[in-house]
């Protein structure tokens, strides 16, 4: 699970709003990993995720001047990312992009452009292989869930969002988020059980 990123300074956001490109670059550098990872887990394809993450930052560049509360920048950025993911998901689904064979496997793609997961160098090859298989299973399992369930799991269990942050981002009460998240975890468990047996 990812550690929560440190908050972007208010001045940086204000400078970016004023049109400072260096401030924008700083924001991109600080948040590109998070945006890209959310996109990657939501779509399961690194190329799509890269393109989508860039689109997200273009949206930020174009509309950051409309952001009223700088303190809510992260929730705002996540909302933009999830909105882009939803639209892209629909777009790709209509084109039957997500057939079982077209899934972008983060481990087994041939072209080498697949993003590398961060592994513990102390892991021995067996553990490494197991980890790869687990990652593959999880990614496939996530893509079989409903979109809103996937969002909850990605934000909470992969990105380490607090319930408060999730509530702010998704506009849902904490209790609703908890119950929905539990349902999503149980469904993923079912999916994984089916796929491993």
């Amino acid at each position: 699970m990812m550690k929560t990123s440190p908050k972007i300074q208010k001045e940086v956001i204000e400078n970016c709003k004023a049109g400072d490109e260096r401030a924008f670059t700083e924001i991109v550098l600080q948040r590109q990993k998070k945006v890209f990872n959310i996109a990657y887990r939501m779509l399961g394809n690194s190329e799509e995720a890269r393109d989508l993450a860039q689109e997200v930052f273009i949206s930020v560049f174009e509309s950051i001047k409309d952001l009223k509360e700088e303190i809510k920048f992260d929730a705002w950025l996540t909302q933009i990312t999830l909105n882009h993911c939803r639209n892209r998901w629909k777009y790709l689904k209509r084109r039957q992009y997500f057939s079982s064979d077209s899934l972008d496997d983060p481990i087994e793609t041939e072209d080498g452009s697949v993003p590398r997961a961060i592994y513990d160098p102390s892991d021995n090859p067996e553990i490494l292989l197991e980890k790869k298989m687990i990652q593959q299973l999880i990614q496939r399992g996530l893509l079989k869930l409903k979109e809103d369930q996937r969002e909850l799991l990605v934000l909470r269990d992969l990105q380490g969002y607090s319930y408060e942050e999730m509530g702010e981002t998704l506009g849902l009460p904490e209790g609703t988020i908890k119950s929905k998240l539990h349902r999503a975890r149980m469904d993923l468990k079912e999916v994984l059980e089916r796929s491993t047996h």
């Binding site: 690194s46 639209n87 629909k90 999880i138 269990d157 975890r185």
Partner: protein
Amino acid sequence: MDCEKVRAWFSSLWEKELSPFEEKTFREHLSSCPECRREYEQFEKTIRWLHSVGEVEVPEGFLPELYKKIEEKKGAIPGEKSRGRWFHFPLSFKLPVQAAAMVAIVFLVLFLTKMMPMEGDRPKEAKQTSSPLSVEKKAEQVLTPKEMEKERRALETSAETPHPKDFEQAKAPVLGEKKLETDAPRVMAGGEKAEAPSPQTPVSTTQAIDSREAGGVKTPSSAPGEIEKGLVAKEKSVVASKPPQEIVLRISDRKKGISQLHELVKQFGGEMVTAEGDRFLASLPTSSFSQFKKELERLSSSIKTDQLNVKKHATGGLRFEQGAKREEGDEKSKGSARLAADTESRTIVHILLVEE
């Protein structure tokens, strides 16, 4: 404690949100229920796997590519930009727009298909009222009662006080019109104002219009219908004139019919002006016209009165309908002009012979 409730606590236990009492109850149930224990083990494993998924590195060149895209967007042609945007609009926006467009197209098609037969009918209508004078006909029919009244007045005044000046004034504009219809120099000789343009040579329609201009009459457009309207309107303001009439004589024996017609005309003190095939132009005293008409009705199996092609003339104001005049030609118009000059109250009748 039932299994459903225990399974609903899986996440809470994992998140350490259960109270000590709840946790104790939960664990007691797990130890006594192998099914729930197995379920919880699977759940725990899933969460551990989820948390074991590491972060993925951002692909190289992400930032330069981003700037490139921003630059492209900045320099994009607005038209192209909006064209591409359509594909990214949500369906909730696109569907109503597409539906509205479809409805508009359907209405347009319905409208066009409804209009087409009407368009197709027009030529038929045109054929039915194929006479190029149909418009003029209407105009004259509308004016008929007024003209009748004027004619009556004119007849009265001319009978009571035949003033030469009045006659000339009344005659002049009408003669101008006559020039339009015919190129009769004799008629023009009768009107001082009309003489000016070209009294000796035959006058074309446009020349006639010019002459009317010279006479102080507002120039109408050169279109025949408009000229006719102008004439009618002008006549209204001048002297008496009667609505034109055409008598269709339906006969079974042509020769007999013609001879009977000639006899009738003579009988009523009139004379046959022209006889071209089945078309006859007769001049009759106005007083005996009604009697003549009755006699003619007896001859004919049915008489159709069409207030168009033949006009009654009163107080010397002889007027020919333009269409009829064109067909009749110079000789006829000369004759009728002569009559107009010679007689004070005569009626010109256009008789069309139809053999049945």
